[in-house]
Amino acid sequence: MTTAERKIPAPAVNPEVKPYFDAAAGGKLLVKFCTACGQYHHYPRAICPHCFSERTEWREAKGTGTVYTCSVLKRGVPVPYCIAYVTLEEGVSMLTNIVDCDPEAVHIGQKVKVVFKPTDGGPPVPMFTPA
């Protein structure tokens, strides 16, 4: 299976998160960091969900992480695909797909690294593949 067989819906980009998707177009994964409380968060917000400070900034993530959980959807879709939460090195977990591999072989605890995949009429989005 390749992701080319599955049309990836374009993200509905809004001004608050536009830098994230602009960076994705350049092959960079950004994550929001709050300089007031020293914590990362995802999905990204202008105001920190941990301490409610507006002192949040974009940081480039290392792009590696570990599968927190996953599932392969097999029915009602043209091509089975693996959805997962990946816990980044930075400590936050993000919803994603694990691609360019046998989806059945993906497992919790597996080391993965970021790749960027084109969407249907929108910016590319970060996905992950076995490291």
Partner: protein, 388 residues
């Protein structure tokens, strides 16, 4: 201020249909409202409070109040998906305790079966949803959201597909007695785990049914409840809690029931061990297992062992659950199972459940709802009720 014994469930009605191709959604709301009023022995003009959620067509309660010809002085359209209706019951009790209304009507209805809804298709919540850009590209649907919870629960606690299957097996044992249930055939653990995989590790028989229909309940002041001919069901305690992803600090194997349940038990002044019957939201088998743990019926991680070997089956198990067959076998109208959870708890407390599943001396019951998605963000609501 507590709602303990300040309000009663006086009417409950579940629409018998499971496919309503020839009816409108508003019509179904009216039919269940009529059914609940008849059950209570009340008239439409007695209703002075109305509650509905996102399944009701129109702007909050406005269209339905107008359509139903109600004259109300209190209204509430709290929307937390399938758990909304348990919150409505609690909010109705609060309103009654404060003198804001005397008789509150709560309705739910929908036609997802006729409209071709499925748990493997994405649902749209609008372009301004802040989480949408980070979920929609990845094909998040209801089934794989709950499946990720199940996978993680298995990883952390060693829960098995066979243990999850027992939840469905118990529901099917109950559904065989319900002439209106969509699925009435008793199934085995093997049949569940051999059914087609939908989103691993959840099989087709781990998923709830998709049905049209609806239900309604009526909450009233205790003096009014005592003047009616029906057995009196007191509300003892309630809790509500949202739970999300905490900015990326995931704890997927714990649900909001950990907070809503604690609040409800504290207000009611009872313990999990006192509960004789429990309606537990069953969008999927894993939903039941996680909530049972979080409500304190067993320790976190012990849910698999707790639900196994028929422990949820009325007559033989320690915690009879969803004796109508639940969302897994009977009915999940409008893709929202909270209303039918309340209705079956009322039937049990009145002694009006099917004789094949009626819990003996059922004096204390719990209803638990989860709306939204366990895998992302959800609302949890707990009600504890007693037979007066």
């Amino acid at each position: 201020m507590s709602i303990k014994r300040k309000a009663c469930l006086v009417g409950a009605y579940e629409h018998p249909t499971r496919k309503a191709e020839d009816k409108s959604v508003a019509q179904l709301h009216a039919e269940v409202a009529k059914g609940a009023l008849e059950d209570a022995g009340l008239a439409r003009q007695d209703v002075d409070g109305y509650f509905c959620a996102g399944d009701a067509p129109g702007l909050g309660p406005l269209s339905m109040v107008d359509y139903l010809g109600l004259r109300v002085r209190h209204m509430d359209s709290t929307e937390t998906g399938g758990s909304s209706y348990l919150i409505h019951v609690a909010h109705a009790a609060q309103a009654i305790a404060l003198g804001k209304c005397n008789v509150a009507l709560v309705t739910l209805a929908g036609r997802p079966r006729s409209e071709g809804s499925s748990g493997t298709q994405p649902r749209s919540w609008g372009a301004n949803l802040p989480d949408a850009p980070f979920e929609a590209p990845y094909g998040l649907v209801v089934a794989n959201s709950y499946a990720m919870v199940a996978k993680r629960h298995m990883h952390e606690f060693g829960t098995t597909s066979e243990q999850l299957a027992w939840v469905k097996v118990a529901a099917s044992h109950h559904a065989q007695h319900n002439p209106h249930a969509l699925l009435r055939e008793v199934v085995t653990v093997k049949e569940v785990v051999d059914s087609p995989m939908i989103a691993d590790p959840l099989h087709r028989l781990d998923c709830c049914v998709v049905t049209d229909g609806g239900g309604a309940v009526i909450v009233a002041r205790p003096e009014i409840a005592r003047s009616l001919k029906r057995p009196v069901v007191n509300l003892l305690g309630a809790g509500e809690s949202p739970k999300g992803q905490a900015g990326g600090q995931l704890t997927l194997t714990t649900s909001g029931a950990a907070w809503s349940g604690k609040a409800a038990f504290e207000e009611a002044g009872v313990k999990p061990g006192d509960i004789r019957y429990a309606s537990i939201y069953d969008s999927f088998t894993i939903t039941v297992l996680v909530q049972i743990e979080d409500l304190g019926f067993c320790a976190k991680g012990e849910g698999g062992k707790f639900v196994a070997d028929g422990n949820l089956i009325a007559g033989s198990g320690r915690l009879p659950f969803n004796t109508d067959g639940g969302g897994l076998c009977n009915n999940h109208p409008a893709n929202r199972g909270g209303m039918t959870k309340v209705i079956e708890a009322v039937r049990q407390l009145r002694g009006e459940a099917h004789p094949g599943v009626q819990v003996k001396d059922c004096g204390l019951a719990l209803a638990q709802g989860t709306g939204g998605q366990l895998g992302t963000r959800h609302g949890s609501a707990t009600l504890i009720m007693e037979r007066a």
